[in-house]
Symmetry: D2
Subunit: 415 residues, 4 copies
């Protein structure tokens, strides 16, 4: 643990917060590590720039931003007479720097196609454990905080919880870069209102309206950005493209691709493979970023397989599929009709249909009643669930999961 | 009706919206009228700058801002194929320019003290009618829109309604100048979503999240600014000071004051006096602004009446009274105890108590179910109350009036 | 000297910088003093709101803002290994809080009319000396820093110099509230680049472009705001109105006014009077603010003296005089012609002319070569005048005083 | 030419300007064309995100932004009674949409390595001519404006000139995304001040301070962003990497790469090849974007050639070379010493040196006296060069080219 003198710290210019910096050498050592540098090449919001052209910010920017908010939160909580040692400060900043390190390019799409069934949280932990070997003990406390094994539970909640620095940063950052200014949250004020009670992260009662607004802004960002129907359409197209590419590869077809991409196309990989082949598969994964997928898809757009080339050229040239949203599932009859049209018009086969017409569901919950609650602390020290402290929300409604069904299909067809 | 060529229009620099301008000569003629210029001398938020030092913006700025938003709204609604003639455009801009012209200095405080029982809406109309004489017919349509007698009802709703240009401007402006950034609303986007259905102002369904956020932001501004307890304390102090001054004046005591202020101190004035003494009283009222009250209160702070001087010096030097908030009324016992303390310590008499200890109630409703509703229009043209269209709000809660009771008393006392 | 724990500090919401706070009890004690509270009632930019309606910010806001920047500057300089003790930090913050305390309402206009020949710097010092008595020694170091008697000269330069916290705040604040966004300076970055060399405030070489931009922005603000011709016209009108009022008063005419205003109207006051009548005159002065002038001018607008009433109603209703700008002085012939027109048309007498037609000069220097220079420090520690360090400016031009002549006269006349 | 009704226009959310839109169908048809969509995959500032992590905005965003400013400029100029027909408006917007279409990935680096000697202006014109075939006459006027063959010369100046919409957008956009807030220009106000005199674009005299600030901001952006030494280092690394890859390819070595990248690695291509092989080479070029370079460089980082792998892994992992800046050229002695060190330490050969140690020059001119001047128009219609109109700049200095020499070499070495 080595704290850097204030004027020796490297200053980074962030368009969201201005000049930011970090207090410990290990923070910078991590930032300079190839695995964190790799996040420069992965967009935070995947294909969202198809709808919001400004949304080109990266997971690297988000990691820095969340770590900056963490250092602010630590000051605030300390000023309210809760001890956070220097070592804990260093560790919790490192934990948030690393919390998303397991993300691959177009994370959610990948997890539904070429690395099916593998989620980024597991991979983040794997990466951290490998890094810990390099850092020779320097990251163990960060890992313990991340996995909630550290005895001060509120530190974990700052990394992962209903009001963690991850969310505070990404909501603010995503609204900044998309230009959806209504999503802007008062992260400044929320952090000033953070406190700790019985080892739990709580919010001082004065901050209740900021929390209400945070929940509403989050909800707005969900519908207006994260689950925007055109974004859903684009991501589905990507999933179907990758699925087709993998299915072709598994039958022996040689597709253009970087070695890392080719590895995941040519092999069915499960999380246990990651655990067993320590490093080899992880290194392949660490070599993957947005550029491999994009560069390959342009080449595949000229492939002789009509399904693959159709999907790729649609994606690359932003000829997105039509998407319908409904509160109830789409019936087979509708879907069959679309399939028939598609087979009639374009001579695609029945077997191609699963790559061209797709239905699924979208979930949005503003506030989960399953997870740990956002706790409001009254002046007398009593804590309440935001659900009970706020007099405006129908918390049943607030915590109810909203489900919508979507159906995507090529634009030339008519429903 | 005379439209000004675009490049001939006077451009005004507004820190909130940037460069703004108005299309009609009558708009500018009104802006230059002494009665509108007078609004330069009346702060929009009265004594709120005691809490938020930046809140020095004036009713004049607000009038311009609301009129600017109106001209934007007219463009949007026209672009959706609803006719608004040039004459109507001119009139509706004039109506919003004038909607607050009846406000006096520290409006709500005055209405509870020296011009008790007279509200600014009535006065606004009186001013408009006088202006109409000067404009010789040029303002009649504006008056009809303001009073909801014009056949296109949605024009009135743009001036006065749950989603009028008045609110859109003041929420945005007040949050800008107080620095309460969380109160910022997406007026831009809301206006883009305005539409008209069956002669009613509605919001396109795509704007629903912006409306939710508008309601939450409004609520936040209420508790954090408009009903901030220190603001409540300051305004009560002002009310009590003016009451004392008036009561002394009515007993024949000569207090320093401008002729306009003296008139209202020395005379019990009712709204019917305004109607009957056409112009004389109105002219006195038009001569009043913040400066008369502030200048006089500094002089009164040295008056021999101990109650008046105590109230005035407390106000001028920002030695505000303590304020307590509760959900239930304050009991007589508590109040009596405070009175006794006050009489003991400072030799005030029982009769002075009504000027020094004060209890009252604060009301906050985010969305009134009594008033006209905010209507959301679905893609098929059907309209819904926001209460039904939104799946998040407990609209009962949303439209429930929140009532709090306050008690103010000099800081030296203890409850 | 008593430092306040971080979480006990009162937080103030400033629209320019966000949440601000101060570290010492004496800082807050000063802020709460009636003499600083009085600055809430004095607009920073006088009548500039006639041109920029948003320019209603007060000297109080500016004092807080400059003090906030000072606390930032202290951190930066300390982090570069220059000692600033806690006592010095407290004193230099107090010095900047008080630096403008001697300003009266419409400062520059007053200094040219009813308190002719008295400047606010002298009064600021007088106020500080009186406060020092109250604070019993607690302000002496602040006074020494203000008067440049303290041995660490760079502390004085932070309060008064070419790059002091006063300028950094007012440029940023004035551009924020006028909406002249181009005047915005990077105060953040400039402060980060401050350093000390041989007891002089210097700027690290990396900040040179920020300084260039600061100088250009300052110049832009001068021409676009501070010396805007309409502002010049309004201020002249005010000066002439106050002169007329004083001249009438001195002949025995009783004009409406608060006791404080009346005192200065009825008495010729020189700075030596202030020194000799310790407190009495100072207290009168401390009672004066914008409201006295504005409230009185409305009353005077109905006075029987045609010159006074004409000037007052012109001011109050913003019927500003025409203003001409030239690089050379206006000739007597032109002026005489205007006078003749005015006497012909309105039956004003020759003696009235000095209150109605006025000529004078405007000075603007971006960077004074007379004053201490802005010093740039190279990496090797050598310092250079910005004039020599910058390769863009013609520093002769930059430091050349630009002089313009103006002539104002009632709008109905033609030149 | 087909103008779209206001409410039918697609609205795009731009974080810099808010909601933007375009008036003509051809504007949207161009935006949707694969060649413009391709600009989504090319970062505007190449490797600048190594220094400013926010600088991930694309050439696509810039094209939209510049086109938006163009539509604003057209309104302003029309409002000053200069005719711009609808057809001209459509054409000049299309011209600016297309002005950068010839940029490849990491444009300046590519032009110094694998497509040496080919500049993007020539390619832009080639692309436009191909598009014109598709649009069957619809783009001829846009091309004529772009190439300055259209009789209204000021339209060309809006596309390419000292004050064109290209510059206004990129300065504002680059400062927004880098977070270098001091580079922000008042594009709003500058556009409001545009005018036309004798068929030349001029600036109304009232805008002179905005122009001064524009020039200073531009200069600041050059030194702080475009020529930032770390950016220079990164771009040199990229150039050297691509040169090495090409040189290896030309000797028959097969390197991983997409077909498009491989084509340019394996073939010496000149601009005449583009002209002669109409479409084939252009199509290859249109297939290239950032992803191909980045994806390949990760693969090459494991290549057996030590020079290539060293360069690639340095780039990918941001282990940038040291860079020195001087006002005079670096001597051979210094360079030789570095080479010797490098050969000693790492067993690189003499022939490898040209890829590892590099010297060159940086040029910065704020205002070119060679190009057309920025003309200021006085109120009497007379026009002046900004050099003569401004009293602050030493225009000789302003228009003097500042040249600096740089030397880059691996960090492990010492100079």
């Amino acid at each position: 643990m080595s704290r850097i003198a204030v004027n020796k710290r490297k200053i980074i210019n962030d368009p969201v917060y201005g000049f930011i910096s970090f207090p410990y050498e290990s923070n910078f050592r991590l930032i300079e590590h190839p695995w964190l540098q790799r996040l420069r090449r992965i967009r935070q919001l995947g294909l969202t720039n198809f709808v919001y052209p400004g949304a080109n910010h990266t997971r690297f920017q988000h990691a820095l931003g969340a770590a900056y908010l963490m250092s602010q939160a630590v000051q605030v909580i300390r000023s309210k007479d809760h001890e956070i040692t220097e070592q804990e400060e260093e560790a919790v900043i490192n934990a948030i720097l690393l919390h998303d390190i397991g993300h691959g390019p177009f994370s959610h799409s990948l997890e539904q196609s070429i690395i099916e069934g593998i989620n980024h949280e597991d991979l983040s932990l794997l990466f951290m454990q490998e890094l810990e070997k390099e850092f020779q003990g320097g990251l163990q406390m960060a890992i313990d905080i991340f996995t909630n094994k550290y005895h001060k539970k509120f530190l974990h909640q700052l990394v992962t919880g209903q009001l963690d620095m991850d969310r505070l940063d990404y909501l603010k950052r995503d609204s900044f870069f998309t230009g959806v200014t209504e999503g802007v949250i008062g992260s400044d004020r929320i952090i000033k209102m953070l406190n700790v009670k019985d080892d739990n992260l709580v919010v001082d009662i004065k901050g209740i309206y900021s929390i209400e607004k945070f929940l509403i802004a989050r909800r707005l960002m969900y519908w207006q950005v994260y689950l925007h129907k055109t974004v859903v359409s684009a991501e589905n197209l990507l999933i179907m493209m990758l699925k087709r590419a993998k299915d072709l590869s598994l039958t022996g077809e040689k597709l253009f691709g970087s070695p890392a991409l080719s590895f995941f196309l040519n092999n069915k990989t499960s999380i246990s493979d990651f655990y067993q082949n320590n490093r080899m598969i992880l290194d392949y994964f660490a070599d993957l970023d947005d550029s491999d997928i994009i560069s390959a898809s342009k080449v595949w757009a000229k492939h002789k397989d009509p399904v693959l080339s159709f999907l790729c050229s649609s994606l690359i040239n932003r000829r997105l599929f039509r998407v319908e949203l409904k509160k109830t599932p789409f019936g087979n009859k509708q879907i069959d009709e679309l399939k028939n049209q598609l087979m009639d018009k374009y001579f695609f086969s029945e077997m191609d249909m699963e790559y061209l017409i797709h239905t699924g569901e979208l979930l949005n919950y503003t506030y989960s009643s399953m997870d740990e609650k956002i706790k409001i602390m009254k002046k007398d020290g009593e804590t309440l669930d935001i659900a009970d402290a706020s007099d405006i929300f129908d918390l049943n409604a607030l915590s109810r999961t909203v489900k919508k069904f979507y159906l995507t299909y090529p634009k030339q067809l008519t429903l």
